[in-house]
Amino acid sequence: MNRIQEKMRSGHKLLSIYFTAGYPKLEDTVPVIEALDEAGVDMIEIGLPFSDPLADGPTIQASSTAALKNGMHTELLFRQLKGIREKTDIPLIIMGYFNPVLQYGVEAFCKKCREVGIDGLILPDLPLDVYQEEYEPLFKANGLLNVFLITPQTPNERIRKIDEGSDGFIYMVSSASTTGARDGFGPEQRAYFERIHSMGLKNPQIVGFGISNADTFAQATTHAHGAIIGSAFIKMLTEDGKTGIAPFIRSIRKSP
């Protein structure tokens, strides 16, 4: 059983953190993972920086640009992650855009993921049908879960299809937006959260986009199994550096 699937069985609401590899400093990738692990998060999305991150808002864009400028690239990320499994058992997901994976070679990329101990991938611009037609066996052979997104506009029929095709969790985008765009959830979002909950999907749902503090974390996870914080974490990292990680995580975890 994959580390992600195992984690999903846990009774509590999962906190997952996204950060950009090689940010703020090129060598920060592993130290950030270690600090997050120590701070007690449940899962980590390691952002593979891309020049044209079109699903991301300004905060994550800026961190990607900085990471690339720092010298981050795919091969280097794998080098940095080598040996990570000697340090932590936390589920690790690489999140990025499809083009760098394609250039690395999808097969080579999957193999490297397995080698360093990556558990899953989130590639927002690799659509379900292409994945299923071309890449699913490769992912499976390397023990990688592929995570798909749904949004408030995703038709129920398609949600079922995505649920069908997923076997880790569903990344539930909180609202029609790029990352980091909203502040708090309104009645529309809550209705959406309830609607998805009532669908009784086989995969757990982890909510992402727009979660920045204990309050929004609690709202997002009322029905869902967990939530992902990205932009708010990057913002904190930019301002406070790695020493801010533990206090930030504590502030999310505390009851609202």
Binding site: F50, S51, G57, E75, F98, P127, V130, L149, V173, T178
Partner: protein
């Protein structure tokens, strides 16, 4: 949604409903008689179609071939771009949208979009790289005159590809009321196909116009410059399956294909994903998209439409890379031989005669895709006029 191995819709799920709505409806809507009637009527009365097919006597004498120019430079707003924006604004109306977004590089597509939004009384937001806003001030002013809002793209290289990223982000954030008018045969399916169909009027007209003038519908060659590739797609469209008609695609070599400052995507690109489409793409070994260079603001797109990627890979089209210097010299030549100052994009297409030879009775149709008014400052600086 594929041209050989190229095309598709490599989009984040957030865009799925928008593109799916379009995909499911575009062919049906385009087939409706009232859509066709309004589209054709606006092309005729507003855009000024049919644009002439002009026999270029002095060019023909100089290069010893029968050279015809398809005069898209005479279209309202100065280039072929408006064929597509007319089609898409009608599509947006049919889909019940009230808000239009677009990306623009040199500003031509932005102007063409702002124009049709004014015509239809629709809200219009055009994303444009901050760098391009500074260097294309007249087109920014035109868009504002037309009532559009021009929003600067401040990320990345702050040029066309970043403006496109911003437009996509806007669309993600406004999935219900907004239609995104993409300006070329790029982006996720169904855009490349839809835009090509709107531009196909170019070759549709060439066929009957050439029949009138030469007694036959088919030239020996059709020639067009390729940035994203929409004018080329329109020029080739009705000749794609006719192997008797040679297809010549002209790309911008900038300061030379191997100079490091080029936009010759076919020569330099590798298969990749840009703006939701699998195509040939200029990128680093690591898959980061690189910023291309050309003296022409309309050709410096790091990708190329999937149709053209396929035309290149399959060998159906003959791709020629033309440098800045060759293009500028060709632009001056056409100005002084025919009294037509071409857009610098188009000037590239006139520089093929040093690269290929033709027979005296070869009929060559070159798409004169845009007029050079927008490029005057570049011509002035280059030739020290």
């Amino acid at each position: 949604g594929y041209y050989g191995e190229f095309g598709g819709a490599f989009i984040p799920e957030m865009l799925y409903p928008n593109t799916e709505e379009l995909r499911q409806n575009y062919l049906r809507i385009m087939g409706e008689p009232d859509f066709q009637e309004e589209f054709r009527q606006l092309l005729r009365d507003y855009v000024g179609r049919p644009t002439p097919l002009y026999f270029a006597k002095r060019l023909s004498e100089k290069f010893k071939a029968r050279i015809y120019l398809k005069r898209e430079d005479l279209c309202h707003t100065g280039a072929h771009k408006v064929n597509n924006t007319i089609g898409q604004i009608l599509m947006a109306k049919k889909l019940g949208k009230s808000r239009i977004i677009a990306e623009t590089g040199a500003g031509q597509h932005g102007v063409a979009t702002a124009t049709v939004c004014a015509l239809m009384g629709m809200e219009c937001i055009v994303y444009m790289g901050e760098v391009d806003i500074a260097r294309q001030a007249p087109n920014v002013a035109r868009m504002k005159m037309l009532g559009a809002e021009v929003r600067p793209a401040r990320s990345g290289s702050r040029t066309l590809k970043d403006a496109t990223n911003e437009a996509i982000r806007d669309w993600i954030n406004n999935p219900v009321n907004t239609h995104y008018i993409i300006g070329s045969v790029v982006g996720p399916h169904p855009y490349p196909d839809m835009v090509a169909r709107f531009q196909a009027v170019i070759s549709e007209e060439i066929k009957w116009q050439l029949k009138e003038k030469e007694g036959k519908e088919d030239p020996d060659y059709v020639v067009a410059c390729v940035g994203g590739g929409s004018n080329a797609a329109g020029t080739y469209y009705h000749y794609l399956d006719n192997e008797q008609v040679g297809i010549i695609a002209v790309e911008a070599a900038g300061k030379g294909v191997d100079s490091g400052e080029s936009a010759a995507t076919s020569a330099l690109g590798k298969v990749g994903i840009i703006h939701g489409s699998k195509t040939l793409l200029m990128q680093t070994g690591d898959g980061q998209i690189t910023e291309p260079y050309s003296i022409s603001a309309g050709l410096d797109y790091p990708g190329v439409g999937p149709m053209h990627a396929h035309l290149y890979k399959s060998g159906r089209a003959d791709f020629i890379a033309i440098t800045d210097d060759e293009a500028m010299a060709a632009g001056l030549m056409v100005s002084q031989l025919e009294g037509i100052i071409p857009a610098i994009e188009t000037s590239h297409a006139f520089a093929i005669f040093d690269h290929r030879t033709f027979k005296p009775d070869d009929i060559i149709v070159i798409n004169l895709s845009g007029r050079g008014d927008k490029d005057l400052q570049t011509y002035i600086d280059y030739f020290k006029l």
